[in-house]
């Protein structure tokens, strides 16, 4: 029963669903028909509308054709009218031109007539004026003629008196000229003699027959001799144009100039010779000084060979000085006073350089000897702690290098190496004590040993400026930290920083 009910219920639901579907299909069919009808109505309306548009377009075409025809007619009419208007304007213009031309001709005739009448009137007035003027002018000529006659008569009298006075003066001048001619003759002779003397003098200068040679003039006062001698030509021309006095004056000036020049050149040459001698001497002294220091005698029998102890610097400075000296000796003819002054200044620099080289050599030798002394003293101190020397000597057997002493203590099998290292700039020696035992420098003995070494060195007047007894890695650590200075940093901090600063 239950299954039947279930089946019945299912059947009812299916039938209800079928009805719903049928209603839906009917509704959709009705809807479809409505839409179809609406589309057909719309199509008809559209066709009707199109037909109306076609009619309207046909009518519009007819109207357009009519309008075009009317427009063409209108254009033709307008063209005709314009042609007529143009022709009329042309005719009017020609007519006005003709009238104006006629009027102008008439006016011209009237003006000509008027001008002619005016001219006749003026001519009459002018004639009358000119007659009166001529009469007046005639009167004036008469008066002027009378005045001129009188004036000329007076002038003639005065001129006669003046001419007489001038004749007298001319006679006096003639007498003077005669005297001058006589003097000129004597001056000319004098000028010729002076010129010959001057030419002979110049000839002697140009041919190295005087106290100086020609090249001295060019070297010490270049150009001046040429300027002076060129002025002889001018004196010669003066003589040829009978200007003997001027020629003599000119020759005197030239002569004096030559004497002045000779004096100036001699002075300059003397100054040069002095400077040259001084410069040569200075370099000779410097060379001698260098030679004397090539080997320096030390205490005992030892000698310091400077070139060896300065790594060749002595040879370099010696050659430098020698080369300059040779250049000076060969350069007597080319060098100038300025060159010599510069060479003397250079000599001062070379002298300082030589001193530095000598000092370097001495300092290096002293530093080397000190290294050995220090090493021996330190070795002795270490012996007190049972470190016996095993090896000693300069590194690479070069006395300029570090001095090393190797020691060993057999009791605890500890090796200690003392190295005295030179500073190439300050020539101070640094002591480095190294060991294969890390605790060597940390034991209580370390400070004791260090103090003993310092005391021993001080006994030999060797100043110990700084001491560090640190293992190598602690010394390296010091290089990590900055040296600090600054405002406002607490004192305690600065003190702590100082204690670890390098």
């Amino acid at each position: 029963m239950s299954a039947l009910h279930t089946l019945q219920a299912t059947n009812n639901r299916l039938q209800a669903d079928m009805r719903k579907i049928q209603r839906k299909v009917i509704n959709e069919a009705v809807q479809f028909r409505r839409e179809k009808h609406a589309l057909e109505s719309s199509l008809k309306a559209q066709q009707s509308h199109n037909a109306k548009i076609n009619d309207a377009m046909k009518q519009q075409n007819v109207k357009s054709k009519e309008s075009i025809s009317q427009l063409k007619t209108s254009i033709r009419t307008t063209q005709d009218n314009l042609q007529k208007q143009y022709q009329k304007q042309q005719d009017d213009f020609n007519e006005r031109l003709k009238k104006q031309s006629e009027n102008f001709t008439k006016n011209l005739a009237i003006q000509e007539e008027s001008f002619r009448l005016s001219l006749d009137t003026q001519n009459d007035g002018l004639n009358r004026y000119m007659e009166a003027e001529a009469e007046q002018r005639q009167n004036m000529i008469y008066e002027l003629s009378s005045y001129t006659d009188n004036h000329l008569s007076q002038m003639r009298t005065e001129y006669t008196e003046i001419a007489q006075r001038q004749q007298f003066q001319i006679n006096e001048v003639k007498s003077d000229i005669h005297r001058i001619f006589e003097q000129q003759h004597k001056s000319a002779e004098l000028a010729i003699d002076s010129l010959k003397d001057l030419e002979a003098y110049i000839h002697s200068l140009l041919n190295d027959q005087g106290r100086l040679v020609k090249s001295d003039y060019e070297r010490f006062k270049p150009g001046r001799l040429g300027n002076i001698t060129s002025r002889i030509e001018s004196a010669r021309r003066m003589l040829e144009s009978n200007n003997a006095q001027a020629a003599i004056a000119n020759i005197e000036v030239i002569h004096n100039s030559l004497i002045d020049l000779e004096f100036d050149v001699m002075q300059e040459k003397s100054k040069f010779d002095n400077e040259y001698a001084l410069t040569i001497l200075a370099y000779e002294y410097l060379m001698e000084s260098a030679r004397q220091n090539e080997i320096i005698a030390l205490k005992g029998d030892a000698d310091l060979k400077l070139d060896e102890w300065t790594n060749g610097k002595y040879k370099v400075i010696f050659d430098k000085i020698n080369n300059i000296k040779l250049k000076i000796e060969e350069g007597y003819r080319e060098l100038t006073i300025k060159d010599l002054e510069n060479l003397q200044k250079d000599k001062d620099g070379l002298s300082d350089e030589l001193k530095e080289v000598i000092n370097e050599g001495i300092n290096r030798v002293l530093s080397s000897q000190q290294r050995k002394d220090m090493a021996v003293r330190i070795a002795r101190v270490l012996q007190g702690y049972h470190f016996e020397p095993e090896i000693a000597g300069y590194d690479k057997k070069d006395e300029k290098e570090s001095y090393m002493v190797g020691t060993a203590r057999t009791a605890d099998d500890t090796k200690v190496t003392v190295t005295i290292i030179p500073n190439e700039t300050t020539f101070e020696n640094t002591i480095a004590i190294n060991t294969d035992q890390p605790n060597y420098l940390r034991t209580l003995d370390a400070d004791h040993r260090t103090n003993a070494i310092i005391n021993s060195l001080q006994e030999a007047n060797i100043e110990v400026s700084n001491k560090q007894s640190l293992p190598a890695h602690e010394a390296a650590m010091m290089n990590c930290y900055d040296s600090i200075e600054g405002k406002g940093i607490p004192k305690a901090v600065l003190e702590r920083v100082k204690s670890i600063s390098r």
């Binding site: 890695h473 602690e474 390296a476 650590m477 290089n479 990590c480 930290y481 900055d482 040296s483 600090i484 200075e485 600054g486 405002k487 406002g488 940093i489 305690a492 901090v493 702590r496 920083v497 204690s499 670890i500």
Partner: protein, 194 residues
């Protein structure tokens, strides 16, 4: 010729709580200050800790991937300013994007010596001033509220809030047989107990 060395207490390549991102942190050995309850007592003495060649440390940083920057702490980094300047300038030539944070007990105006001035040119952020335990407010990257966070460049300016008042983290790093505790501890925490 002696090598350029840094005396460092320790370093860790990937620390996340001493500045933005993962950072290569270097703790320098030696500090001239005497701050009460300093968290790094062992790193105060000026004694040899780890003498590391500057060149080696440069290579170490350059080869460490995935880091945003370097943090210098200590100890007192400014005591080794000259060597740190060498180190940072070389690192930046290879890794110019890395930022640098530095903790110091000095105030900015006290950093007058040349080496310190040179080091400042390499830094992006300076956290300056002494650690004062009583002013530890448990905030930000600075240890105590008197310390000043100074942005020397604007590269890390976006993290300003985190520097001044961000939440703190402690990071425990176990490396070989050592345990490192990094970051800013809160007041009263006994790190030795941790």
């Amino acid at each position: 010729m002696m090598d350029d060395l840094l005396n460092i207490a320790s370093y860790q390549p990937h620390v996340t709580n001493l500045g933005p991102g993962k950072r290569f942190v270097i703790w320098l050995q030696g500090c001239p200050f005497d701050c009460k309850n300093c968290m790094s007592q062992d790193w105060i003495p000026f004694e040899v800790a780890n003498l590391i060649k500057v060149d080696d440390l440069i290579n170490e940083v350059i080869q460490t991937k995935d880091i945003e920057g370097i943090t210098l702490s200590g100890g007192e980094p400014m005591m080794q300013a000259a060597m740190l300047t060498l180190f940072l300038s070389a690192v930046k030539r290879h890794r110019p994007t890395l930022t640098v944070i530095c903790f110091t007990g000095f105030k900015l105006k006290q950093l007058e010596w040349n080496a310190a001035k040179q080091l400042l040119l390499q830094l992006d952020v300076l956290i300056s001033g002494l650690y004062v335990d009583s002013l530890n407010d448990n905030k930000g990257l600075r240890g105590s509220s008197n310390q000043e966070v100074i942005f020397l460049t604007d590269k890390l300016i976006e993290h300003k809030k985190a520097f001044n008042s961000g939440a703190r983290q402690l990071e425990v790093i176990v490396a070989n047989r050592d345990i490192f505790i990094t970051g800013m501890p809160a007041q009263g925490i006994d790190l030795k107990e941790i």
